[in-house]
Amino acid sequence: MRRATRAGGAPQRYSAASLFRHGLTHEDWERVWRTVEMRRSYDAVVIGAGVHGLATAYYLASNHGMGNVAVVDKGYVGGGGSGRNTAIIRSNYLTPEGVRFYDRSTRLYENLSATLNFNVMFARRGHLTLAHTDASVRTMRWRAEVNKLEGVESEVIGPDEVKELVPFMDTSTKTRYPILGALYHPPGGIIRHDAVNWGYARAADSLGVEIHQGTEVTGISTDRGRVTGVTTSRGAISAPVVVNCTAGWASLVATMAGVRLPIITHPLQAAVTEPVKMFLHAVVVSGSLHVYVSQTDRGELVFGASTDPYASYSMRGSLEFTEELATHVLELMPSISKMRVLRQWAGLCDITPDFSPIMGVTPVDGFLVDVGWGTYGFKAGPAAGEAMAELVATGKTPESIAAFDLARFEEARLVGERGAAAVGH
């Protein structure tokens, strides 16, 4: 494999000193990543320039010296799920393999600014999953115990402690769904998702990876069960390895290689309010009320909900969603009733039967998948990228993702994360 080098010298490093120098001299900032001519052949092609695709390319170049990689995307960097999620980071999952995997990702996120030399604004805020029923209190205890065994900080707390952490929350017993307790997960937090995409794109680019935006994959070529490359809207590329890192279009891309995935695509809607002074430190999630809320560093409240109840590729928002969301949020925090919603949007979520992702090899040699990320893909980006890069470079499936292979559906080894993956399933 070719050692990665950057055409035109080393990339500009960001630092307080460089900011100061630019402030004084007003010289132009260098483009964050290059736009180069697409070549006809690479060591690997990654489809999808979101956090998963870019992280895979970055770790291929940085951990394995494989910089001769193209990341192609029909849209732009971070224009899909990676720029549409609610940017919540946590690792308080239910299954041991899930907890270990997301914990690795959380740890990579914590140090990502330093790793990428790009401020991704990770804020460790603490994460609260509210329980409104005895059944959910039981699941919280289960999750807390699994988390502790895996060395992840999580504990079940009562309504009084919830009130201490979030004073604006209605923890009285007069509500329709009184809060019985919560799973408190201190390492959870939020991040600036665009910065994560740009940071990975810039760092990968500086190691030789080429990012081709506006390049739609129209076909995947195979020869005797082996992948040989892709055809795109800008011509054909030959490559011995093709990694499908798309979300929303994962089934369609896999079908091009003749691989049928157990995925249904559902839209998920989110909304933000106008910015206000900081009052909500923790990330608050309520499964029973189908809502999660956090306050960004800019002061906007970011809301997410459950997926729309039918399969669709439509990314239009609905009034139904905003109404339902407002009802549920006000049930938790009645004092924010005067706040106005600024905008709402939708992203596509690829839901698998066991609410766990699909990572690894497929029946087509050299065609790898990192898909099925449902409503939990963004937080997993770094760990998934790291593991997929190892798989591409070594040809061996890393232990951390072995449980999430495509063959599990044939062999009845499903990884049941339904209880902890998202809300309202």
């Binding site: 279009w249 089934s251 049928r260 995935l261 109840p309 039918y310 399969a311 590729y313 439509s314 559906f409």
Partner: protein
Amino acid sequence: MILIPCPHCGDRNSSEFTYAGEVHSRPSPGDARQGPWRDYLYGKDNPAGWTEERWFHGSGCGKYLRAERHTVTNEIRATRPEVGAGASSRTRP
């Protein structure tokens, strides 16, 4: 919100219905091969375009129906009553 023309009740909001997924034909119970059953359980076409799917009108007639819907625009061009063993509300999944 999608407006679904229920063949029994007329145009109704999709919130009255439960989405029951793509139509797949079940392998014969006499077929013991793993592949067809696995595909029946988990395999999905998940197309971006026209697809035939089942909906259950729980807050209406309590019957299943078939709809042809475009998954990108959510347009529904045809609906018809479900026939055969899956039509009754007693077999609701």
